[in-house]
């Protein structure tokens, strides 16, 4: 499967395409708006181009890898395989859209150079997490992700932001410490941390099994913080105090997905799905994921603040991925991994719309959303599409992943998963439909809390084009991902390629 | 003959115990002035001990620097302290030993623990010293072997100025550092000048030439008999202290770069000579055997000047807070 020698610099270019603009932007004085926008967009486009190139390459079996000597016996390795490319594709597309959205959103607000600098660094670390070839590289970029997202959480500079930052750090830093402890313990047993298709632990003798279970618990705890598994999800709702583009890209896509992606990597490429099942750790993981799904949806019901409701919905939705990974079987894997993309598309749409509502009409609470559909039709249309996707209504992408999850559960005999899926879909409906009903079928109040006093008069237009376009695009993407699921370029096809490589390795 | 051995034993025992007793009284006497005077007596007794261990070079150094100069510095500092803190530190207010700040009960316990710990370590060190192999040549054989090619016949000066001259270079730098450190603290409030006593003036006027002669003699004789740069330097320094005590102050212009040159001449000579030998002999401070004696004498004389200037300036700074004008206004 090695194919002819692909060139090694591509993975590096993907990381650099986000890193270089970021570093340059840090140095830019505040008023250089045009230059900053140009830099951001060129970086985003470059990343998409390189990702596309590698997608085509990996599809044809090329191998892209670059190794740098880092520690005695360990290298920093960036390797683009099918699973990592899925995540990079998602993050590069959404990075472009979020950059456009952020430019519109932060019009005229202070410290934008600092914001976009850390924004690009965050995408750099996300692509690093995606392309890490071994667990040490993963750990490096995983911790880097924490460090570069903290300034974005405390960007506003208010006392509330600082306290939210402290909570965010307490969770993520201690999660990182647990992960480090697990990785170092694993390294002392196995002597290597390379990701390999059928894992590296299957040939260890049984004396190590209790240690391996403990290590699994540590790794999952470390990754669970970012994947917002139940006991460790506390930071996600608090981090909503950050500006909308931050909560959109980071807390719905980059950070949360890094955790779920990490769990997938550990289960598939370190333990190997069969060895993990044999070890008996996939059962508890699936149970934990299920609990998180239900708990997240229940808490979302009670949230009046729109962004906190979406945050709890994220907590529950991300656990679909963990559930898919934890259920042993190709179909469940497909369902879980493809949900990584689908949830990303849908959730970012919802957060964009929430941002629009807050920015344009000053709406933060659900009860203030009466009749907002008439005032901002396109935004609410996108919101509705996203909501339907979340609930699992057929044409939108969410349905596909839930469908495959159900099939996978049946295929591997985990029947208890079906009621969980159905229950969570009902709960999703329970906390999304009232919002839609209030937006479309209630008459608007006489005056909105605050209208955006943009210098350029909005007049009849809904909001700035930069705020409107991204949610619509992501909503359409979510729709097409569902409708054209079987087309060769759709995420589902690509995930089937991943599952096929993960399960039927030579 | 065993009578003589017994007498020597008795003398050494008395001297050893005397040292310990004086040290104990000096450290724990109720009055600071008494403590310093006892410390000076302790220094002189130490000089006697060095003579008994026939380390006459060290005896000279101890008497001149250890007892003499350190004593003068301590007395000058105490005088400054009293005028500064006005409360009579040496009077009745200072009870024998300040108990450490924890409550008396705690202090007794911690003091007991401390004494226990110290006595245990004393026993340990005593046993270690006692169990040392009875015969060890040390380096005296090597020194004797290379003495003739070292340019001097006094082994101690040979070691100080030739075999381990690198140590002496670093030591000159330590002296320079002391002066620089004291200068950087030179914000001490100046001491009111006391009227000079006529008798002291005549004493110092008479003694100065004798001291300079003795210092030169010590420097010269250092090549083959106990003496050398440090002893000569300290005697010369003592002359400076005596002059300072009798109210003499160097002219202001002299206190500028000439003083700085005097202070750094010792270390500077070492460095220049070192680099010179590095170029010629490929080894730092490796004097060619022929000129070794002459080079050592040059180094020693410059070192003497440097040591004397350093000790005198240290005394001046401690005793009367002299200000080192650096041409820039004093930031205070």
């Amino acid at each position: 499967m090695d194919g002819m020698s692909g060139n090694a610099w591509l993975p590096l270019m993907v990381v650099a395409s986000a890193l270089l603009p970021g570093l340059i932007i840090f140095g830019l004085p505040e008023e250089k708006v045009r230059l900053r926008t140009v830099l951001n967009l060129t970086g985003a486009f470059a990343k998409i181009i390189f990702t596309g190139w590698m997608l085509w390459g990996v599809y044809h079996g090329y191998q892209y890898e670059i190794r740098v000597a880092f520690l005695p016996g360990l290298d920093l390795a960036l390797r683009a395989d099918s699973l990592s490319l899925l995540f990079i594709a998602l993050s590069s597309v959404l990075w472009l859209l979020t950059t456009v959205y952020a430019i519109g959103y932060l019009e005229g607000s202070p410290h934008r150079s600092r914001f976009f600098g850390f924004f690009s660094l965050c995408v750099t670390s996300t692509s690093g997490v995606a392309m890490s070839g071994n667990l040490i590289t993963f750990l490096v970029f995983y911790e880097l992700l924490t460090l570069v997202t903290y300034p974005l959480v405390v960007h506003r500079g208010t006392e509330a932001a600082r306290r939210a930052g402290q909570i965010y750090l307490t969770y993520t830093i201690s999660g990182g410490a647990l992960l480090l402890f697990g990785v170092i313990w694993l390294y002392s047993i196995t002597g290597t941390l390379e990701f390999s298709p059928q894992g590296i632990l299957y040939d260890l003798d049984t004396a190590y099994y209790p240690a391996l279970i403990a290590i699994f618990a540590l790794l999952i705890a470390g990754l669970g913080v970012k994947a917002a598994l139940v006991p460790l999800h506390g930071w996600l709702p608090e981090a909503m105090v950050a500006p909308a583009p931050v909560s959109a890209l980071l807390h719905a896509v980059a950070v949360v997905k890094a955790g779920a992606f990490g769990i997938a990597r550990v289960v598939y490429d370190i333990y190997g799905i069969d060895f993990a099942a044999e070890l008996g750790v996939t059962g508890p993981l699936a149970a934990l994921a299920a609990i998180t799904i239900l708990y997240g949806s229940l808490r979302a019901l009670a949230q009046d603040n729109l962004k906190r409701r979406l945050a709890f919905s994220t907590v529950s939705q991300v656990s679909y991925i963990t559930l898919g990974v934890a259920i042993v079987g190709p179909l469940a894997t497909i369902g879980g991994v493809v949900h990584l993309v689908h949830q990303g598309l849908m959730k970012i749409t919802l957060f964009f719309c929430a941002g629009n509502l807050a920015e344009t009409l000053g709406i933060h609470k659900v009860r203030e959303m009466n009749g907002v559909g008439r005032r901002m039709p396109w935004t609410m249309a996108a919101f509705t599409l996203g909501a339907f996707g979340m609930i699992g209504v057929p044409p939108v992408a969410g349905f596909i992943s839930k469908w495959y999850l159900g099939l996978g559960a049946l295929e591997s005999g985990e029947n208890w998963v079906i009621p969980v899926l159905i229950g969570s879909s009902l709960l999703n409906a329970a906390y999304f439909l009232p919002v839609l009903h209030r937006a479309w079928f209630r008459d608007p109040p006489d005056s909105w809390p605050v209208t955006r006093d943009t210098v350029r008069d909005l007049g009849d237009k809904e909001t700035a084009w930069a705020l409107l376009l991204p949610p619509v695009i992501t909503a359409l993407l979510a729709l097409f991902a569902g409708l054209l699921a079987s087309a060769w370029f759709s995420p589902l096809e690509w995930v089937q390629l991943i599952a096929q490589r993960a399960f039927h390795h030579p | 003959m065993d009578g003589i051995i017994f007498l020597q034993w008795a003398f050494d025992a008395v001297l050893g115990l005397g040292l310990l007793w004086l040290a104990w009284r000096a450290l724990n006497s109720s009055d600071l002035f008494k403590a310093i005077v006892l410390f000076i007596a302790f220094g002189l007794l130490m000089a006697l001990a060095w003579v008994r261990l026939n380390a006459s070079d060290v005896a000279l150094a101890e008497a001149a620097i250890g007892a003499g100069l350190t004593g003068a510095l301590l007395l000058a500092a105490l005088a400054r302290l009293e005028t500064m803190t006005d409360q009579n530190v040496s009077g009745v207010s200072a009870h024998p030993a300040h108990p450490p700040s924890p409550t008396p009960a705690g202090s007794r316990f911690s003091r007991g623990l401390l004494i226990l710990l110290l006595s245990a370590s004393t026993a340990g060190m005593g046993y270690a010293v006692w169990s040392l192999p009875s015969y060890s040549t040390g380096l005296s054989m090597d020194v004797a072997a290379h003495l003739d090619s070292s340019g001097v016949s006094n082994p101690v000066t040979a070691v100080l100025l030739n075999f381990r001259s690198y140590d002496t270079l670093l030591e000159m730098i330590v002296l320079l550092l002391a002066v620089l450190g004291v200068w950087s603290l030179d914000g001490l409030p100046p001491q009111p000048e006391k009227p000079p006593a006529t008798v002291l003036e005549t004493l110092s006027r008479f003694l100065t030439p004798v001291f300079i002669l003795v210092a030169a003699y010590l420097l010269w004789v250092g090549a083959d008999a106990p003496g050398g740069a440090f002893q000569a330097g300290s005697v010369l320094g003592a002359t400076g202290v005596l002059l300072l005590l009798s109210g003499w102050r160097p002219r202001a212009r002299l206190m500028q770069w000439p003083l700085r040159l005097a202070l750094t001449t010792g270390a500077g000579a070492f460095i220049l000579l070192g680099l010179l030998t590095l170029l010629l002999e490929k080894q730092l401070l490796a004097y060619p055997v022929a000129q070794a004696g002459r080079m050592i004498l040059l180094l020693e004389s410059l070192a003497t000047v440097s040591i004397a200037a350093t000790l005198a300036i240290l005394f001046l700074s401690v005793s009367s807070g002299h200000k080192m004008k650096t041409g820039k206004e004093e930031k205070e």
Binding site: - | A13, L19, A35, M46, A55, I65, L160, L188, V318
Partner: protein, 102 residues
Amino acid sequence: MTNAFLYAFAGIGLFVLGLHALVVHAHVLRKILAVNVMGSGVFLVLVALARRSGEATSDPVPHAMVITGIVVAVSATALALALMLKLAGKSGEAVLPGKHND
């Protein structure tokens, strides 16, 4: 000639006496005295042990070391005294500020 050991033990005694005084006393001048006494103690041990095997010519290297040590001690004492005076000048008393723990 074992009377060299006598001086060695006296040296150790001085070292320990000085250490005790350094820890116990609060007044800085006493601490400086204690450090000097400890220094003398260590030098005494150094030269005394060189004489323990009783041969005629004494080993010059310890003597050179002690002379170096004495000069270092006097420079350290001078700096300590200047520091103490500056401290007393500023704080009115020659005791270490803050809680006195050694």
